[in-house]
Symmetry: C2
Subunit: 454 residues, 2 copies
Amino acid sequence: MDVVARLRDLVTDPAAVSDDDDVREAHGRDISPHPPRSPEVVVFPSATAEIQAVLRFAGEHRLAVVPFGLGTSVEGQVIPVEGGISLDLSRMREILDVRPDDFLARVQAGVTRVQLNERLAHEGVFFPVDPGVDASIGGMVGTNASGTNAVRYGVMRDNVLGVEAVLADGTILRTGGMAVKSSAGYDLTRLFVGSEGTLGVISEVTLRIHRLPQFVMAARAVFPDLHAAAHAATRLIQSGMAIARVELLDEVTIAAVNAYSGTAYPARPTLFLEFSGSEVSVRHDVATAERIAAAAGAGPLEAEEDEEARARLWDARHHAALAIMATAPAKKLMSTDVCVPVSALADAVAEARRVVEAEGVTCAILGHVGDGNYHTVFMVDPDDEAEVARAARINAEIVRFALSRHGTCTGEHGIGLGKRAYLREERGAAVDAMQAIKRALDPNGILNPGKVLG
Amino acid sequence: MDVVARLRDLVTDPAAVSDDDDVREAHGRDISPHPPRSPEVVVFPSATAEIQAVLRFAGEHRLAVVPFGLGTSVEGQVIPVEGGISLDLSRMREILDVRPDDFLARVQAGVTRVQLNERLAHEGVFFPVDPGVDASIGGMVGTNASGTNAVRYGVMRDNVLGVEAVLADGTILRTGGMAVKSSAGYDLTRLFVGSEGTLGVISEVTLRIHRLPQFVMAARAVFPDLHAAAHAATRLIQSGMAIARVELLDEVTIAAVNAYSGTAYPARPTLFLEFSGSEVSVRHDVATAERIAAAAGAGPLEAEEDEEARARLWDARHHAALAIMATAPAKKLMSTDVCVPVSALADAVAEARRVVEAEGVTCAILGHVGDGNYHTVFMVDPDDEAEVARAARINAEIVRFALSRHGTCTGEHGIGLGKRAYLREERGAAVDAMQAIKRALDPNGILNPGKVLG
């Protein structure tokens, strides 16, 4: 069977189906060290009906289908481990509806967060979920992404009101609606958020958007050591103040950021903070935060009101992963992603440092510590078996510690290929229920096989 | 088979199994006009293991099992329409763990929200979700309940971190954990929230709790007519202020409340508002709200700082349903529960008024209008066919209008028996996916049969 020719019959534009080697190779990897594997063919649908046609065809011929956004997953989610079809959503980049009065927007799955926010800025609103790199909204739905704003605005699951998804059998379903709450039947919206392309292909998403805050201040607090910085983050959260961002960057991260972004931050464990609201409450919160940071050993807060200075600070933070990647361009990024109750944060970070030092690895520790979520990040040569094995040992130890504190193996990156080994350990019998749901919605297992439960 | 004797073998206390007529009858109805039907037997489990044993027995003998909290459902959720076993969780009322530092609490499903908040008050924290009457946490999980605080703190789905549930085959599963976010596999937590006892019996719940606000003011704004009050609610939300509660009570509701609670509020459409945060920001918000209300025709805001005065006002609001029930004690409560995007609120409320007036019914209109959720409430004689038919017509018209505005047929009461007719209209093909999930987790259909999808 000539799969390419058959697929070309299903789409308007013949160029939307490609078996070119470079195109296939670009769809066979993400930024993780998981071994690449090219799909047989890449399809770039332009409409939900084309996704439907491709899924029906794939179902008939038992071909794997792997949705692809920008390829920025870090647990191998987009790698077609069983070959088949990579479904690249990049042609579905239309912002369909923006309703600032109802604080919602409807977009096609290929729209990126940066693209969306450029559009929303004109209306005084924004979409808060901000993984480090730019990403497609569909991909962010897939992994239940979060980022620096989650401590105030929540994660994808809190900001998706509904999705349009195409199931394995080609059924197009719409979950949710435009009301901010509903008790009408099972919550399929949240089921699709975080399902990593294994239950359906997300084609459209209705998002909650938020009013830009009146007044914003960013600040840096520099600490004598990592434990003190993590402890201060915990105290900030426990104080109950409505802080907007609480990001930890250790000295290794800061050094990488300085080299990459041309900043000159002191290379010491640092909290990047943000406060927003009315000017009065922000200044009050900044003063409280300064006291809490000082009690944990920090020097005075370096606060920024100016919009450009704040943007520079958060760009530096958002580029941290790229900055670390730039330290070893020939290698791939390995990142742990545990999340613990905030009271366990300082101990968990200290334990992570102990684990990597015991393995003799230089690593960066950074993360969204306001949520109890942090990453231990280092570069790995995927062809060096010893490096790969060591990375796996480090990951395992850090995950086990988090689970012993009732935490999770993944706060925002998802299970993909890399965390499958821990899912049963974390969720127990719940995994059987997940498998039953997967079988019910995708009986032939054509959707992103080998991921999450595979 | 002597079901009672067999069930008594499965529990520690023989008195935990009852086929007494009064007990069965009390478990055969809720506060809605749906026809009552007694279960064959009522079991009061004391532990998750007893729930498991009952479910295994029920599965073997294909007996229906209907979880029962306090019987305050308003769509017939607890009525055992196929007989069988009513599983009353009232003996499972232990608060298992309270961790103010991590803003979470773990409770057995029979704990009530009032009981929980009495315990939490000692720690300076509270659980915000507040349906009008007291209710069990398990029941509130079942219907994805909300209430007056949802506009600030979200609904049950936003405040449940995890559940322990017993599946139809007796499997005990635990979803979620103590981390505030996770991307580890499918979101079974949110799937169970709002599943109305059809996917499993909730035995334990891990909840997000919240710090009591520093400073609080309540206020009333009285409007010349209902449309003006609804319009002002919309403008308050669109202003983006962090308002804590926005409740609408029409003149009929106010009159019932005055008669029931001994208050003397002017019998005119009124918004009950609450503002919380730092004192400075609260006073700023109250002034803004007063301007918005005045622009819509309200008189000056009647504001209350005093804790007792605020408690009186919110008690009056929480007793609104009881107050309306007291106007016709021989009848049962009929309540619509639509929720629309907030921009459609004023039109939707006006349309509801038009519909009930055209039917010649005196009704109360009230609700959580900050979320776009409102109730059209009136008393119905379940034995009067004409009254029941008229109630159904009114419900249908109000739901159709909400769906035409991309709203939902139920914001917080759930589908139960009463909204089944609208689920397909609202969700389309998504209902087939819900049914596939139901069959996957409860293949013999023993869990609360006839509800939601039935």
